[in-house]
Amino acid sequence: MPINVSEALDTDTAEIVTVTRTNGVTLVDGLFVSGPTSTFKTLASVQQPTVQQLQLLPEGSRDQNPRLFICKKPMRTNNDKDGTVADKIRYKGIDYLIISLGDWSTYGHSHAFGVRVE
């Protein structure tokens, strides 16, 4: 049984952020219509991406104030195979759209890269 390292995420090491989740999109006459949205709070360690992590992001995203959110709850990004829509994380009054995910759910957390939404 792997160690659940998410226990390291507590109020001493992480902050509470608000996640807005859009539950899918449907097509009506060839136009996308957003599904219902829900919001929830989660603990997240918010960090600046390292240089190596920045290089893994699309070039255009690197100057959009990216942040790494290490969260206790699984995050979502746009995925056409699953039909999921990217989550938005509100941190210090600014919305960040999740553009890249690392699945570490076996160890109890997720790595989510977000860029600032204008």
């Binding site: 859009t22 060839g30 957003s34 990217a86 938005k88 939404v117």
Partner: protein, 183 residues
């Protein structure tokens, strides 16, 4: 008035009709109401984009009487050439593009376009634009549809009901005042 969304929807409906596949075609370059990009549709799909609207020649202006009303109605009509781009993605993209391109000349489709005030002028050849992605090739194809339409506008030209002409004529120390009112 040429309505980009109306024409885009007509082309989407035509693609869905000729491929017998509802919701196959979507509008290109969409964003969700919050400004974010939606995920791509699952499976094969087509995206329709309104590329350009070019006026051909000079607009024709007509003035018509309105019975007893002294005002005139001005009607402006001009030929427009509209270019639509249709992209096909994923499985059978090239076959789908070729099928749609050929089926656009069906009488039923031309009639449908005609009822919307559009004429099929020409089509480009189907271009294969398959793309190498991280997890392998994605089949893609594209062609352009050029349509002709009549763009129109109307305005009311107010009639000039009276004209007042005033002037003065001076000769040999005399001055004549002219005041003419035309009704």
């Amino acid at each position: 008035m040429i309505l980009a969304e109306t024409i885009n929807k007509l082309i989407r409906d035509i693609i869905n009709l000729v491929l017998s596949s509802p919701d196959f075609a979507i509008k290109a370059k969409q964003t969700l109401p919050d400004g974010t990009n939606p995920p791509r549709p699952t499976g094969s799909y087509a995206a329709v984009d309104f590329v350009s609207d070019t006026s051909i020649g000079w607009e024709q202006q007509e003035l018509t009487n309105n019975g007893g009303d002294p005002d005139l109605t001005e009607t402006i009509k001009g030929m427009r050439e509209i270019m639509m781009s249709v992209d096909f993605f994923r499985s059978s993209a090239i076959d789908n593009a070729r099928s749609v391109r050929t089926r656009l000349v069906r009488e039923s489709i031309k009639e449908l376009m005609g009822s919307a005030g559009l004429g099929l002028t020409r089509r480009s050849e189907v271009r294969e634009i398959s793309e190498a992605l991280e997890n392998g090739w994605e089949e893609r194809a594209q062609f352009d549809i050029i349509l002709s339409a009549v763009g129109s506008d109307a305005d009311l030209v107010r009639a000039i009901e009276t004209v007042d002409i005033q002037g003065a004529y001076q000769a040999r120390g005399l001055e004549y005042i002219i005041d003419i009112e035309v009704l």
